[in-house]
Symmetry: C2
Subunit: 128 residues, 2 copies
DNA sequence: TATTGTCAACGAAAACTTTCGTAGATTATG
DNA sequence: CATAATCTACGAAAGTTTTCGTTGACAATA
């Protein structure tokens, strides 16, 4: 009985870690997610399970229950989730300024020259 | 007896709202912050006060107690805090990719052509 | 079939964040 | 001076997130 909220809530930090694994590996079981997660953080299996159940409740994940071992996948596209997070940070810390955020991002960590080229291409698109 | 943590923790959402007001108006009293804040959210004066006291404890704010009415200011520069948040989001949702984050940010909201030009300048710098 | 292992479900504890009521001190006002 | 207003401090309640122990169902296997 999924909740019927208008908007999907933002994933919490722990939830995002699970999403990252799903983004990298595609639909997975709890066991698989937990396996990957345990390389980064030290939490129990049931913690991961519980989080994923909560995420289904929130509409962040969907699952296939046709087998005993459920298969989970992201309910939103990666891009949609990322956009939501970026928009949120932009509002909360950059007063809504995309340029401000972009500039901090670029000065924060060196992007590869391919990345920079791709950003240029995007700029060209946006200006046309 | 201030804590002596090596790194300043990330501001929470409510804390970030307070920082935004400080960024806009400069060093302020609790009353002033609360006044500004009340335009966006509905919380009591003591809530704002308590948050700001916690923020001092965390090292997010500093205060001048020489007068009865304390004067608060940000303990980190705006840019430092923003970079910290951007870096965190980059890690948590973009697998450390600055380019990925930048591209979502640019496609999220139209930046002005001056902004775009400024970003180009930054790209030029980064490539040299 | 009996034992062992894996799974989902549940609930509650622990940790963290946000809220505000109350108290005591200081300053302003009548 | 007495009263009211304003401020900091404190602590605890309410809300949210993260953690994990335990249980019962099912499956693999000896």
């Amino acid at each position: 009985m999924p909740k019927n909220k208008k908007t999907t809530p933002e994933p919490t930090n722990a939830e995002l870690e699970i999403l990252q694994v799903l983004w990298e590996h595609g639909p997975s079981t709890v066991r698989q997610i937990h396996e990957q997660l345990s390389h980064r953080r030290a939490t129990g299996y049931t913690t991961t399970l519980k989080l994923m159940q909560i995420m289904v409740g929130k509409g962040l994940l969907a699952r296939d229950e046709s087998n005993r071992t459920h298969l989970y996948r992201d309910a939103q596209t990666r891009e949609k989730t990322q956009r939501q997070l970026v928009r949120s940070l932009m509002q909360r810390a950059f007063d809504g300024s995309a340029a401000g955020l972009v500039m901090q991002a670029l000065s924060t960590q060196k992007a590869s020259s391919e990345d920079l080229a791709e950003i240029r291409r995007l700029l060209d698109e946006l200006e046309s």
